[in-house]
Assembly symmetry: C2
Homo-oligomer: 667 residues x 2
């Protein structure tokens, strides 16, 4: 058979790190094999917009399908499909019209626009790099001994405008100031960023011109709904509001009970100031969001025990505020019981997120959970952790998991005057005594006239102790409403101690929100899966697992001989019947070339049909990473491949049931 | 058991038409059970925007899944996921900036806006109705004998503004004119609509004011991409352009060969002037579009034979132009061979569309294929048929199937100067002779100076006969370039007969486009599935088939007794393992009430667990439409239900393998 196929009877060592990861090589494969590509390429492309081709769309669909199984089906979540178009009022209420913005500043002469934090960060990092280079050039032993991270920006999220470093030494005080700023760059407001830019003379990198004061740029795309121009709309920046405005319907669907979760997979939009970094910072993206509605007094989770022993790598806020990035590894059980993670429900989802990301193929060592610092946290959140995945761009936020408290439901209820609350029957009625004022409105009105409402409000606002003293006072004759000059008497108002029996508690649920940026996860997974064969740096392999691989099985007839065609058709039909996505490559390329092309597509298995298949009814099965091959009857091989694709057996198991195959036999 | 359950040993007659269909009842159920609802309800709602709740989202997902299997997987289409955000240039080129518009007119005093065709149609229909009423009131025997359609507007698409009829007799000539206009309402331009409105004094229905001249309103939502305001964008009005701009990448993925098809399921947007009619005319909707790229000289389809005998109900353009709506029923084979449907590929998709709609549950008698009339056809189409489904709103366009010819690829190629073509190796090289002009540019330039380019272009534009005469003329000395005053001689230009050998044919593929409005299909399916029990008009049943039903199986423990809980859990787990969506209803409602609630949700089957299940290991199986019940071992019932959900067995088959169950046994 193919000269590139390694005979399986030789122990195969797969060395995935023989060649350093090359982002350019990965991107080349992704474009050429049409996983994804910049949108409107033939029109010159539009920054921040990407199209998924057949392979990318299939990979994305498989990730979504795995997500749906892992979250929605497993927990019986209520799936929604709400509109992208959102009217002004809703996003004004949610806070997005006022606060969903980035700070930008302009080159004062060319008008070029920068995201303020990215500009400051890029310039300071370049200066620190220049300082290192200058010291290195001087042979400064102290500096040379310092460990320089292998890859700059490793601990940062994507936010850099490439700025060229110049080898200039910095004053040690200034250097320390720069480092301190960079460690907390997400923590600064626009005016603070502007002050730093003035203080350190940060200029536009290419022109060298000064930049203006940072101003806010709202990141929502705005449009007009209908022909009259009277209704302003936005493209949603998240799916979350679609859950909240439907809360009452969801609650009714769930028979009035919490906890329950809604889930929504769909597109959201951010009009990024200056999108870079490929799929990691885009203007249109697919999100998967869960809103888990929970009683604020009962944030325990009934299934927490199932995940309590899952170990996560944490980067808590106190570590970051100390300028450090050391990870704390512990079980989610310990993290919650120590108070580091606020509550069980939040912890449950952190663990479930972790399990999902590992299941689809994210490298465990390149996944961490970073807690938001106080100023960084979204305006609605009470605690928030990001699942960050390490890529060649550094650590990237891929999933946010926030406790949004009761913020959203409260503001929407207030604005719309609709009750967005849960009523819970108390296990035992709550019985207590309470001072209650009875106001005789018919007499109060004529007496106080236009002040009557104010008098009533003043009485209603009284505390229990005030009511108690008022009760005594009124028994002794007319008296003033405490805190006012209004004189009342017992013919207008009486105060008495009443016995109250409450059977229902009414509350606004809190919301725990795991929010997935599927495009970022998609890209990180590609980086974690891509490597080059040890003997050929140009030969890429995409080690996607069968759960997410766009095509599970390549069907390869060894030659174009027509006698093989019916068998190829038969095998394809069998695989389709088993629900296994397959693809036939009957091109004239050598079989090694055909294997190699499909290694790039991430196809985990190949079935090779040759003349022995016709004569003996056998078929060979190739595994992508090891290139090992097995042989067996068509029946057995199909059965094995089904198990491999479903994940019920491993390649090692397959080696136990099928015979090893050495390429020479087929020659 | 429940008193509402009909004992299965009595023959069950299901009468689905005992009560007339009630749209209000269906809509009530849809809102209450949260299939869908107007979006932003708590904010008063936004016209033309709808959210899908858990049941609606699941039904939609199941329709999409069936669509993906029926089209994408069956035909190995290349699935795409392209951006909604589309820059101006792309939609300018495609023609949407100039032509994707409706005509609207304004009430000259109140400013109220109407869609011009809807207004004219509504007013004329109301007058015709008024005429009928007036004649009926007069006892005009001739009129009374005329058959009045049971439902007005039966033959129209959704486009009516409700206008109240007044009983006023019309002149017979005017009546005929109205009827003629209505039969061709889709055929008129804005100025024509305006002329009719003047001629017949059509006014705003509520105010009675005059309306202004119709003006065009572009139906795309417009926005700005990025912070500089320099890049205008639109939300796509269709997914199609995303396929065309990626054509080269798709062609390369398909190894340079046609035919192939791309497919895309996603949201598109239309800023409707005045959306009404619920899910049928919305501003944001999910589409599924296929672009099948084909050699214009080979529009045969290799799988046409598989569908040639499929019968369709056609409404061809000549019938409509004659003011008729009589359907022509014939096989797609006959329709293509008679030339009524333009080509095999178009015909193949019409048949496949028909099969898909029937598969998900559309009533065959309420489905027709209507051909577009000449003026109605989109600017790009060379032939177009709509699959129209009959609903309480009349016949609704749910799928368009157009032959877009080479229009889109041609205009994008021209605009971007990129070759969007296919090269096909000719089976036999084409050898022929051709007159070719050889221009000596080095001499031409100095001689003609600024005119040199014009001279060259004039020569290049010459036809073969002109070149042949020029060849002879030049042999006799200097001569003028035909059609110009430029004199040339043989030292500047020679013309000779050359032998040409072409091995490759280059062409722009044609595109056949089946385009599905999934929301309209979703709604039509609900109408076709909804009915009320003969004995209780208030008890709705949604007869969705298991392929699309949101929940396939209801699991009902007969009482809240804790001893049943483990079995309920076990059965749920088994169903989940088999991939069957189920739901437990362990509420305290009577079992009949629980069945009834799930009949409204369209749940086809119910499993009932009682104490016999614990003692004898039996379980009953209920079918929604007949309410018939069977009983068997848990093993057998699970096996049966799997077959029923997969469609491999029918309820009649199940009745053959399990025992009939009469409710009394469990009492």
């Amino acid at each position: 058979m193919s000269s590139s196929a390694t005979p399986a009877n030789v122990a195969v060592e797969v060395n995935r790190t023989a060649h350093a990861f090359s982002r350019a090589q990965l991107e080349g494969v992704m474009t050429k094999r049409f996983f994804y590509n910049q949108a409107f390429e033939i029109y010159g492309g539009v920054a921040g917009l990407y199209d998924y081709g057949p392979m990318g769309a299939a990979l994305q669909a498989n990730i979504i399908s795995a997500w749906r199984n892992h979250f929605i089906l497993e927990e019986e979540m209520l799936e929604l499909d709400t509109t992208i178009m959102t009217p002004y009022d809703v996003l004004k209420t949610s806070g997005h019209v006022d606060k969903f913005a980035d700070w930008m500043c302009k080159d004062t002469k060319t008008g070029e626009i920068f995201r303020a934090d990215h500009l400051l960060e890029g310039v300071l990092e370049a200066r620190l790099k220049g300082d290192e280079e200058a010291r290195a050039a001087e042979g400064d032993a102290t500096t040379q001994k310092q460990e320089v991270p292998a890859e700059k920006g490793d601990d940062k999220k994507v936010r850099k405008k490439k700025v060229k470093a110049q080898a200039v030494k910095l004053d040690p005080t200034v250097k320390a100031e720069y480092e301190n700023i960079l460690a907390q760059i997400d923590n600064y407001s626009g005016p603070e960023l502007g002050a730093f830019m003035k203080k350190y003379d940060v200029r536009a990198p290419e022109s060298g011109n000064e930049v203006g004061e940072p101003v806010q740029f709202n990141l929502m795309f705005e449009t007009q709904i209908g022909p009259t121009g009277g209704l302003k709309g936005y493209l949603r920046p998240e799916t979350a509001q679609g859950h909240f405005v439907n809360f009452s319907r969801l609650l009714e669907f769930n028979s009035g009970r919490v906890p329950f979760a809604s889930a929504h997979i769909g597109k959201s939009f951010r009009n990024e100031i200056s999108p870079r970094a490929g799929l990691l910072r885009v203007r249109e993206f697919t999100m998967a969001e869960i809103e888990h509605f929970v009683d604020p007094l009962e944030k325990e989770h009934t299934r927490f025990d199932e995940v309590a022993n899952v170990e996560l790598a944490f980067l808590p806020k106190d570590v970051q505020q100390a300028g450090q990035t050391t990870l704390v590894t512990k079980t989610i059980g310990e993290a919650v019981s120590s108070g580091m993670v606020d509550n069980q429900t939040l912890g449950y989802f952190l663990a479930r997120i972790n399990l999902f990301l590992l299941k689809i193929g994210i490298e465990p060592s390149r996944l961490r959970f970073r807690q938001h610092m106080a100023n960084e946290m979204a305006h609605y959140a009470s605690d928030c952790w990001d699942a960050e995945i390490h890529t060649s761009y550094g650590w990237i936020e891929c999933v946010g998991c926030a406790d949004r408290s009761a913020y959203d439901l409260t503001v929407h209820a207030k604005k719309t005057k609709k009750d967005l609350v849960v009523q819970k029957v108390l296990k035992e009625p709550k019985v207590y005594e309470k001072w209650v004022a009875n106001i005789d409105r018919k007499s109060l009105g004529p007496k106080f006239k236009k002040d009557a409402k104010a008098v009533e409000e003043a009485i209603t606002a009284l505390e229990q102790e005030q009511l108690e003293s008022l009760s005594s006072a009124l028994k002794n004759g007319p008296t003033k409403v405490p805190g006012t000059e209004y004189e009342i008497s017992s013919d207008l108002v009486t105060v008495e101690l009443k016995s109250i029996r409450e059977t229902v508690r009414e509350f606004t649920p809190n919301v725990i929100e795991p929010s997935f940026g599927l495009g970022r996860i998609f890209y990180a997974l590609l980086e974690h899966s891509f490597w080059a064969r040890e003997k050929d740096a140009g030969q890429g392999v995409l080690s996607l697992n069968p759960l997410v691989a766009p095509i599970k099985v390549l069907v390869v007839p060894i030659s174009a001989n027509a006698s093989l065609a019916p068998l190829v058709k038969d095998i394809s039909a069998r695989l389709r019947k088993e629900g296994i996505a397959s693809r036939v490559d009957d091109s004239s390329a050598t079989i090694g070339r055909r294997y190699a092309r499909n290694d790039e597509l991430g196809t985990p298995f190949a079935l090779t049909l040759d003349f022995a298949s016709l004569q003996n009814g056998t078929m060979t099965l190739r595994e992508r990473d090891t290139t090992g091959q097995l042989i067996g009857s068509i029946e057995d091989v199909v059965k094995t491949i089904k198990g491999l694709c479903e994940g019920s057996i491993s390649w090692q198991d397959a080696e136990g049931t099928l015979k090893k195959y050495s390429g020479e036999q087929a020659l």
